[in-house]
Symmetry: C2
């Protein structure tokens, strides 16, 4: 999660020389270099391809841009007519630069470092497409889903297929694990969560299990609270990524018996470093380190994070050993 990003001076240097943020995502030489930056600098077990969840709406022909300090801006899709205008064919051709990035990274990467491909989940991608960017209340996306679930399902189904295609193409290009980010899963109310978060991910996971059975899938239904449990026994899901609000003890009891868990240090601890970071990381390792577990943050690295803190965190995680019983 923003493993490569603005907190790294070497990233800022490549970024400054490139054009727009999307041009950077579609520039395989630069994107491969950026992907490799954190694994070159830190003792990490995996690299995640440098890309963005909004390459999907961009490849579907929606107008997407990134404004400095503002986040993404999309021309909103708010009707069946606008859904019908999206270009669903040729998606793979338009996303070739992402796959080329993966191929380049895989040839450069040490054999014992895994390469992760990713995509946004249908609900989360749909929120950006409908709201036209990030949102506080997600009122447009939710209102559409509540008012006209049939037409909303058209958009979700279209995204399920596009996202599944995109993930499988990343596997062909060298991805050895996949992650689906449902960053705004937590915004769905009780009655809508099953239909718009769980079911679309279930269908994608099932397709991946059939077409790429050797590739582990990690699902991140961010801020899902008690509803993380919905993914514990889902076919095709190897691991679940936890945001920082999930109590480790709860995850150890409710989730870890069923699948691997990944997470969940608050990025503010990484920003601060020092003893507080050490204590918080150790709490997570002690609670989850004995089961199937991948240490990670609960959300992306913050821009002001000193790279030294990331190095210190890698040391803490590598040095940790379970207490003897």
């Amino acid at each position: 999660m923003r493993q490569a990003g603005r907190y790294l001076p070497e990233y800022r240097k490549v970024r400054a020389g490139a054009g727009s943020f999307l041009e950077l995502c579609y520039n395989p030489a630069a994107a491969a270099e950026i992907t490799l930056q954190p694994v070159t600098r830190f003792a990490l077990d995996a690299a995640i391809v440098f890309s963005d969840i909004l390459v999907i709406p961009d490849a579907l022909g929606q107008d997407v841009s990134f404004r400095e300090g503002e986040g993404p801006v999309l021309r909103p899709v708010r009707s069946e007519v606008e859904i019908a205008r999206l270009r669903t064919d040729g998606l793979r051709d338009r996303l070739q630069p992402v796959y080329e990035t993966l191929r380049r990274v895989r040839t450069e990467l040490a054999e014992n470092v895994a390469l992760i491909g990713f995509a946004g989940a249908p609900w989360t991608v749909a929120t950006y497409m409908i709201e036209g960017g990030t949102s506080r209340e997600f009122a447009e996306a939710k209102a559409w889903a509540f008012r006209a679930p049939e037409s909303f399902q058209h958009l979700i189904s279209l995204l399920e297929e596009a996202i599944g295609d995109h993930l499988l193409a990343q596997v062909e290009a060298g991805a050895e694990a996949l992650q689906i980010f449902d960053s705004w899963a937590g915004m769905l109310p009780d009655v809508a969560f099953e239909r718009w978060c769980v079911e679309p991910i279930r269908r994608i996971a099932s397709r991946l299990a059939a077409e790429a059975p050797a590739i582990p899938l990690i699902v991140f239904p961010r801020l899902a609270g008690t509803r993380y449990g919905a993914f514990a026994e889902m076919h095709g899901v190897a691991a679940i990524s936890l945001d920082q609000t999930v109590p480790c003890r709860w995850a150890a009891e409710q989730l870890q018996p069923h699948l691997a868990v990944q997470g969940n240090l608050d990025p503010v601890f990484l920003l601060e470093g020092g003893e507080a970071m050490q204590a918080a990381a150790t709490h997570i390792l002690d609670a989850l380190g004995k089961g199937p577990f991948v240490f990670n943050l609960g959300h992306g690295v913050m821009q002001a994070t000193p790279p030294d803190h990331v190095a210190a965190l890698c040391d803490i995680v590598s040095a940790w050993r379970p207490h003897r019983a």
Copy 2:
């Protein structure tokens, strides 16, 4: 939760004639009129006093203002020295207009309509005081709490006392139930939740149980996910308010055996109205209506909500009857 507010034309009329938002909160005649507006228009069981959680920092002498369309703006408190400058004496005098509002409302209100007083929880009020307004990441508040928990505890302890005083003064002025809003409880990571959300509320609840034992206390640890359970058996807490992400079935099993629950319709359903609202409200009533329960929203009424939808929702709730077993 914004039971009275900008979605009501009669509110906008009073608002337009008043000065700043805080001046309105401190104008007992206008605030009492606004408090009564929703109970006059709709068949509601309770009125909540028109006020704001930021009257506490204002009364503590922090510079607080509300800018149209921007939300609150505070001159941030970010050091021990700035905490020491807060005026903790005479708080009750400075908040007299709020108590006068309650007294006026209580004399006007029908006997069978309850009057609710409220305050923000220490953590939530502290985030506004430190961030200087609303925030996406709460990095300043969290960083302080993580880096220097002892000095952060000074601010929290000061707020615990001020909030407890304010709630008790509201009871003296006629409040028949109290609610504590911990709107940003969900932003606290696992290891910090107990100390900065649960413990301060436990101490306030314990004081209220001793000093105002007849007054039910409702706690709203918004977006706490699995951690709602921490309040299920807390001394002095009569009810827990649920945001819209809490599955009703989970709440019926885990929380309702211990205390009353309140919630949790997504405000976007109220904005939309119609069949979707009817179905979602009925789902909540069917799941929670047989135990101790107060129907409510999961978050505040949205500004664009048609008042007719609120009336329709009151009808749905009044007409609901449990299915026979």
